[in-house]
């Protein structure tokens, strides 16, 4: 059976060059980077070289990069860390209603501790309006946290504009760049951000490693206490192989990002065109242009998402739903809900997220398979009538 992976926004395979780079740090250079002896100092040297690669990747300065256990910790650290360190100034935070749960649930946690959170709405494409950010800022506002690009439907937010506003108003600005990094350029100066989260495993690096960029001078309180690691900001023995792997992965991404973005956009558009030709009543979620090159989120009228995924899985194709079908209520995705997508359609949302190994042949195969699957499932659905019968209905 074929094996076609179209779930790169969930996680990516580790690049073989990355694995090669990591291996010596498990067996040969295994020292604790905090140790004084040569075993430790060799590891320390490698960690600091890796840190410089991250510095180059996002246009930061030395000393502004903190390694974390992943994107979730980076988001938690940015939000809670800034909130706790600046609560004497105020207890108001602005975010959007379509953030990843690492951000949303950190904000909800802070709400329980007396912080006030403004969850900005989005338009039908999932875009926030920078003017609304401006309006939401109060004297008490200490942080704005907006994702660079959405993980479910790929819409790219107007970060540079929000960055300008935040800077003018003197409010810290955090972006969750976990989905955008490696797919589109991410540059902290251009975007005017004070804090930025990254994750290794979304950019063909290992799991369990992430980065929080903290602009020099940003007041932030550590969340993990222990030794004096990471300039007293994040305790815990450095995950040396993970750090090396992440650095190698972004080093590769830095070189390939522009070309790969063009290739993936073409491939993704081919998938969309092909699906659109073969299947009626398909809806695209997210911004038609301002979108990650690899992401395609679609609903097929009358069909529930998990059923499509299961059918595709039988054909060796891995995709994911936008909706979390975890309970009896089949609660649709908070992202699509915020965009005002009809709940019934939202329940059928499927996310295709392409990556570096995907080929045109695979994409064509997926479109072919999908056509049969959707028509089969529509045959079982009480909610789907063919166009002809719909037109008849309208005429009646």
């Amino acid at each position: 059976m074929k094996k076609i992976y179209l779930d790169h926004n969930a996680t990516t395979p580790v690049h073989s060059e990355v694995i090669k780079e990591m291996l010596p740090y498990y067996r040969d250079i295994y020292g604790n980077a905090s140790s004084f002896h040569q075993f430790g100092q060799q590891a320390r040297k490698a960690v600091e070289e890796a840190r410089e690669k991250v510095v180059d990747f996002i246009g930061a300065k030395s000393g502004e990069i903190i390694f974390t256990s992943g994107g979730t910790e980076a988001d938690n650290f940015a939000i809670k860390g800034v909130a706790y360190a600046n609560q004497t100034k105020g207890k108001h935070i602005i975010t959007s209603s379509i953030e990843h749960h690492a951000v949303l649930n950190s904000c909800k946690y802070l709400e329980k501790q007396g912080f006030r959170i403004t969850y900005l709405p989005v338009d039908k494409y999932g875009l926030i309006n920078p003017e609304e950010v401006k309006k939401a800022i109060e004297d008490e506002t200490i942080l704005i946290s907006i994702m660079h690009a959405n993980n479910e439907m790929g819409t790219i937010e107007p970060i540079a504009e929000v960055g300008k506003i935040a800077k003018e108003k003197g409010v810290y600005f955090h972006i969750d760049a976990v989905q955008s990094a490696g797919k589109i350029p991410v540059e902290v100066k251009e975007l005017n951000v004070d804090l930025l989260s990254l994750s290794g495993h979304k950019v063909y690096g290992p799991k369990g490693i992430g980065v929080l960029y903290i602009r020099k001078g940003t007041k932030i309180q550590p969340l993990i206490h222990g030794g004096h690691h990471e300039k007293n900001k994040r305790a815990g023995t450095e995950n040396v192989p993970g750090i090396i792997g992440l650095a190698k992965a972004i080093e590769i991404a830095r070189i390939t990002v522009k070309e790969e973005a063009i290739r993936l956009t073409n491939l993704r558009n081919r998938l969309w065109t092909s699906i659109n030709e073969k299947i009626e009543d398909v809806f695209l979620h997210g911004h038609p242009q301002e979108r990650l090159p690899n992401t395609l989120n679609l609903s097929f009228e009358g069909v529930e998402g998990e059923a499509i995924i299961l059918d595709l899985d039988m054909k060796g194709i891995a995709v994911s739903t936008g909706s979390a079908c975890t309970s009896g209520t089949l609660e649709p995705s908070h992202v699509l809900k915020a965009m005002g997508v009809n709940p019934r359609l939202a329940q059928g949302a499927i996310r295709f997220s392409l990556g570096e190994d995907n080929t045109q042949e695979e994409i064509d195969y997926v479109a072919d398979m999908l056509s049969g699957i959707v028509s089969r499932l529509r045959g079982i659905s009480p909610f789907y009538q063919k166009k002809e019968s719909k037109d008849l209905y309208k005429g009646a």
Binding site: E306, A307, L310, M314, L330
Partner: protein
């Protein structure tokens, strides 16, 4: 998703899919705005379910539950059919993941509503 072979088999080849023209009873359950929905159509002759069809907007477990239920009740008397609970459907499918139990409840409810609808229609005759 950890589905049993039986669930997968019914998902891929569901039995008795469709609608019945002039059915003797219809069971329509689920939230019309959001969530799983199941429709069950029954034809009854001499107190026996002689034909049954279903449609569902739902996940793999909902499709398999609907399919299994129709197999279990076809040819049965109304009383026998009313004995078929969601537990029996789950057992017949070799089990369902816990968070998918509601799909089998949906099937059981659809059946009860369909039989209820049949009795109502009978009462009116």
């Amino acid at each position: 998703m950890q589905y049993t072979e039986k669930v997968i088999e019914h998902f891929q080849h569901p039995r008795n899919v469709g609608e019945i023209e002039n059915p003797d009873g219809i069971g329509h359950v689920g939230n019309p705005i959001c969530g799983d929905v199941m429709e069950l159509y029954i034809k009854i002759k001499d107190n026996i379910i002689v034909d049954v069809k279903f449609k569902t907007f739902g996940c793999g477990a909902a499709i398999a539950s609907g399919s299994m239920l129709t197999e279990l009740i076809k040819g049965k008397s109304i009383d026998e059919a009313l004995e078929i609970s969601n537990k029996i459907v789950v057992e017949a499918l070799g089990g369902l993941p816990p968070k998918k139990t509601h799909c089998s409840v949906l099937a059981e409810d659809a059946l009860k509503f369909a039989i209820d609808d049949y009795f109502k229609k009978q009462g009116k005759k």
